[in-house]
């Protein structure tokens, strides 16, 4: 079947199987491998993308459900090479270790700040509760998100 969707401001019209998952559509059909697969059952958040203004685990979404949707993946966050403040803050706070959780974390954080530019630490923790990280112990990630929020004030 055929679907139309916008990914990172680019329109795509693709012929797909009805059981194709959004994560596979992004990785294998569009070549955006920044979206990671950590568990494929919606528990780790590595495959997080923003779809119509909400974060979703793209391993739980069928590609057909994304028909007509507007999607932002990690590749669409920087603007012509200028990093988003959240990306910049992750760099500055060493919130990136192995990096495998990073795309999902960054998108969850951006989505939080899009809806709530002034989050409390509790709200930050809530926002990334669905994103697992095995490396950092989370502290540097929280600090990064906090500083991104402070800077954009």
């Amino acid at each position: 079947m055929k679907i139309n969707l916008t990914v990172n401001h680019k329109n795509y019209s693709l012929q797909i199987n009805s059981d194709l998952l959004l994560v596979d559509l992004l990785r294998d059909h569009i070549g955006l491998t920044g979206t990671k697969k950590g568990c494929e059952i919606g528990e780790c958040g590595a495959c997080t993308v923003i779809m119509n203004g909400k974060t979703v685990n793209s391993c739980l979404v069928l590609a057909v459900q994304a028909d007509g949707a507007e999607i932002t993946t990690i590749e669409g966050v920087a603007n012509n090479g200028d990093l988003h403040p959240v990306q910049q803050a992750f760099l500055e706070h060493d919130a990136v270790h192995c990096g495998f959780c990073t795309p999902g974390m960054v998108l969850s954080a951006i989505n939080l700040l899009n809806h709530n530019p002034n989050p409390t630490e509790f709200e930050i923790r809530e926002a990334i509760a669905g994103n697992l990280c095995r490396c950092t112990g989370y502290q540097q990630i929280v600090e990064a998100i906090q500083s991104a929020a402070d800077k954009s004030k």
Binding site: I74, F90, G99, G137
Partner: protein, 771 residues
């Protein structure tokens, strides 16, 4: 050294450009590989049919052990681990057949078409069962000092008991993955998410029956490893290589999370029996340990891990009479393997349990008992394996953290809180870490590097270490920049590659920077000493009376200068170009071996460690005694990294290590049913710490102004030691439980202290209290 340098790939990570094995662009011939594994812990393979699967359209190969062109073997040290099962399977998850097909779905369909008939037999599924069957993996080991039996007999106070510690799943975010691409003649190019490219190369060559110079293993980055990719990454690489060989096409295997959890080994569960004797003041006089490890179905690294456990049963404490016996038991479970700490956590959990019990028995503060038992500076400083504990910071760190954490005041507050609250209890604990750095198999302490300087003054560095998120490449980049006196943007690190630096050791034992950093420095020293005479000639060309001397030449600020005549200087890139024209070789290999370390296994004596790392933590928890639910209210950490090469990276390692340790000590529990099936093989049932599990108030600092005498730029290794800071949280939970009986009764406790364990322990305490 420039302090604030982000991880060398950080920009690529935040933009999604960083490429992992699963992200690689391979030509459109790429096939997907799948492993058909045993559903039985122990069984004979009676019959099987592969033809239907082989004939499925889209299937390119289905292979079994007879199709292996080389040796059917992938044991890293002892050759006791088959690549593919023959007529018997010895654990659930053991590989039996391999499939290569056009897609994941076709692989799955093909798997369904393979009919295998098994005849299950009795399986050994725990340490206790293995002990009952006397199923040892190899001879027991012993390390002993003093006269334990005599000393124990004389002790006024004695305790004995046993402690179990559980398995831990690595849960690297990126599961095991490899892509193999067949080349000309016999060649095989392997892209593997491995901590040990040289061993992956050896195993792939072995199963293919080709020479090691036919195999190139390349590793750019891993999405986490933690020891889980030290030996067991070899498996996926070997299987992909076999399929690539059989089909003549590139093959990728990336394990599904559940398969990864089912098939790969974990941190070794231990059953530890102990007896300890101490005096009125709580000073340890004699301790006897018996360590029993669940090795799983093959040796893997079990004995090296056991050895490190045996070296760490003292943790930070001087014990004049100590005997430790270690045994590895063979069971029908996947072979257990390396995991951050490498046995250290299991050994240290035992002595920390003993010290904690002494405090309760003598009704004294546990932190004080710890202080009294610390290794001394001038005396009481010899370990049970005869290594002297040098540059010991324990007492200094203890004083500092006691003060900075307001331990004594908070202890009072906690007592007061506990006296007022019946169902909520607080607990707190201070625990130290002393961790030995070096591979305990001494010859592994070697590393190589290759440094190329190009005519434009840029530098390419390759070394044997692998990047798994620990920031190794960033630190190496900094080291190279500092040694060459050029800005770090001029230096690029390449993927780890067995064709560039051969015969490397695993990136493990926290030693990545220590070893590879020194090897890189060695290569740079060679390059500098080649360049310097030409620089001196250049400075002396004008015939000045005062001549430039070799000893005065320094590499600094992107220049090379004569420090005695500072006006004489040349831009680094210009100097490089000049050297090129003068036919100076601008590429050099470097090598390093750790000096002065040795260990005699027969005698159990030696100096296995280059130095020790110290750390200390205080954790406070709040426990709901009705549900067993607890949270960490505050954690203070003071950790020793020598002169930090990169404080932000080191801090991240300390925090990440602590949290991973908290996971092992509390929520992470591997459960098996009576047939040996792992019950929690996915993240909805196996709980690694999430953001909700970290301390509400997390105060971490690095010990400053204590350079490490004999390491690269006076730094210390950082990967593993912080893991064991988590005992402070574990024993804080025990302290909160203990408060239910006013610290009068010893609670039952183990690792992991899950809610279930906590509730049982509470129930026991309450029933004893009633009697």
């Amino acid at each position: 050294m420039t302090p604030k340098i982000p991880h060398e790939s950080a920009r690529k990570h935040v933009t999604g450009e960083a490429v992992y094995v699963d992200d690689m662009l391979v030509n459109n011939q790429l096939l997907i590989g799948k492993v058909v594994y045993s559903p039985h812990a122990h069984a004979k393979i009676k019959s099987f049919h592969l033809d239907v699967a082989r004939n499925l359209p889209g299937v390119y190969a289905v292979i079994r052990y007879q199709d292996i062109p080389g040796e059917n073997q992938m044991g890293p040290v002892v050759h006791d681990e088959l690549c593919l099962a023959k007529d018997e399977v010895n654990c659930i998850g053991q590989a039996v057949f391999l499939i290569a097909a056009e897609s994941e779905e076709i692989c799955r369909e093909a798997e369904k078409l393979i009919k295998i008939e098994y005849k299950p037999s009795e399986a050994i599924l725990s340490i206790e069962q293995a002990i009952a069957k006397n199923n040892l993996m190899g001879p027991e080991r012993k390390i002993e000092t003093g006269d334990v039996d005599k000393a124990l007999k004389k002790c006024k106070h004695k305790i004995s008991g046993s402690l179990t510690t559980g398995a831990q799943e690595h849960w690297y975010l990126e599961t095991q993955a490899a892509v193999c691409i067949p080349g000309e003649d016999n060649e095989m190019k392997v892209y593997s998410s491995t901590q040990h490219p040289s061993e992956t190369q050896a195993i792939v060559a072995g199963v293919l029956g080709i020479n090691r110079n036919d195999v190139v293993v390349e590793m750019r980055r891993m999405g986490g490893a933690f020891g889980g990719k030290e030996t067991q990454a070899n498996h996926v690489a070997a299987w992909s290589a076999l399929l690539a060989k059989a089909t003549g096409q590139p093959v990728k295997i990336r394990l599904f999370r559940d398969d990864d959890q089912i098939m790969t080994g974990k941190r070794h569960p231990y059953l530890i029996n102990y007896k300890a004797g101490f005096d009125n003041k709580g000073k340890l006089i004699a301790v006897e340990f018996e360590l029993n490890a669940n090795g799983g179905m093959a040796t893997d690294l079990s004995f090296a891990i056991l050895e490190r456990a045996m070296f760490h049963v003292d943790n930070a404490y001087y014990i004049p009479n100590l005997r430790v016996i270690g045994r590895v038991w063979k069971t029908n479970q996947p072979s257990n393997t390396a995991f951050r700490g490498f046995g250290g956590p299991q050994g240290m959990a035992a002595i920390e349990t003993i010290v904690d019990r002494i405090a309760r028995q003598l009704k004294m503060d546990a932190a004080e008992i710890r202080r009294r038992n610390f290794y001394g500076i001038n005396d009481r400083n010899l370990t049970h394996y005869d290594q002297k504990v040098e540059n010991n910071h324990l007492k200094m760190m203890f004083d500092r953290i006691l003060h900075s954490s307001e331990y004594l005041k908070r202890r009072q507050d906690i007592n007061e809180f506990n006296s007022k609250n019946e169902f909520k209890k607080k607990g707190m604990s201070l625990t130290p870490v002393k961790f030995g750095i070096s591979f305990t198999t001494s010859f592994l302490n070697q590393a190589g590097a290759l440094v190329n300087i190009y005519q434009d003054g840029t530098v390419l560095v390759n070394h044997g270490g692998t990047e798994m998120g620990q920031g190794l490449h960033t630190k190496i980049q900094q080291i190279a920049a500092a040694e060459l006196g050029i800005s770090f943007e001029k230096i690029k690190l390449t993927a780890t590659d067995t064709s560039k630096v051969p015969n490397t050791s695993a990136t493990a034992a926290s030693s990545g920077t220590d070893l590879n950093g020194m090897a890189v420095k060695n290569a740079i020293d060679k390059l500098k000493s080649r360049m310097i005479p030409f620089i001196v000639d250049h400075f002396n060309e004008k015939g000045e009376i005062i001549k430039s001397q070799i000893r005065a030449i320094h590499f600094i600020n992107d220049c090379i200068i004569d420090s005695e005549n500072p006006a004489r200087k040349i831009d680094f890139a210009k100097a490089v170009n000049m050297c090129y024209i003068k036919q100076v070789p601008l590429s050099a290999t470097g090598f390093y071996r750790t000096p002065d370390i040795y260990f005699n296994r027969e005698k159990g004596k030696g100096k296995p460690f280059h130095y020790y790392v110290f750390g200390m933590a205080v954790s406070e928890v709040l426990l709901d005694t009705l549900t067993g639910y607890h949270k960490i209210l505050r954690t203070d950490i003071l950790h020793d990294v020598g002169d930090s090469l990169n404080p932000a990276i080191d801090m991240g390692q300390v925090q990440g290590g602590y949290i991973q340790g908290v996971g092992w000590c509390t929520t992470e529990e591997c459960k098996w049913d009576e047939k040996g099936n792992l019950l929690n093989h996915s993240p909805d049932t196996y709980k690694i710490p999430s953001i909700q599990d970290i301390p509400e108030d997390f105060r971490c600092s690095l010990l400053e102004d204590v350079p490490n005498p004999s390491t690269i730029r006076k730094s210390k290794a950082v990967g593993e030691p912080p893991f064991m800071l988590a005992f402070s949280a574990w024993l804080a939970v025990k302290d909160a439980i203990s408060a239910v009986a006013d610290h009068q009764i010893e609670p039952e406790f183990s690792i992991p202290a899950t809610n279930e364990v906590i509730l049982l322990s509470l129930e026991k305490l309450r029933s004893i209290k009633k009697q």
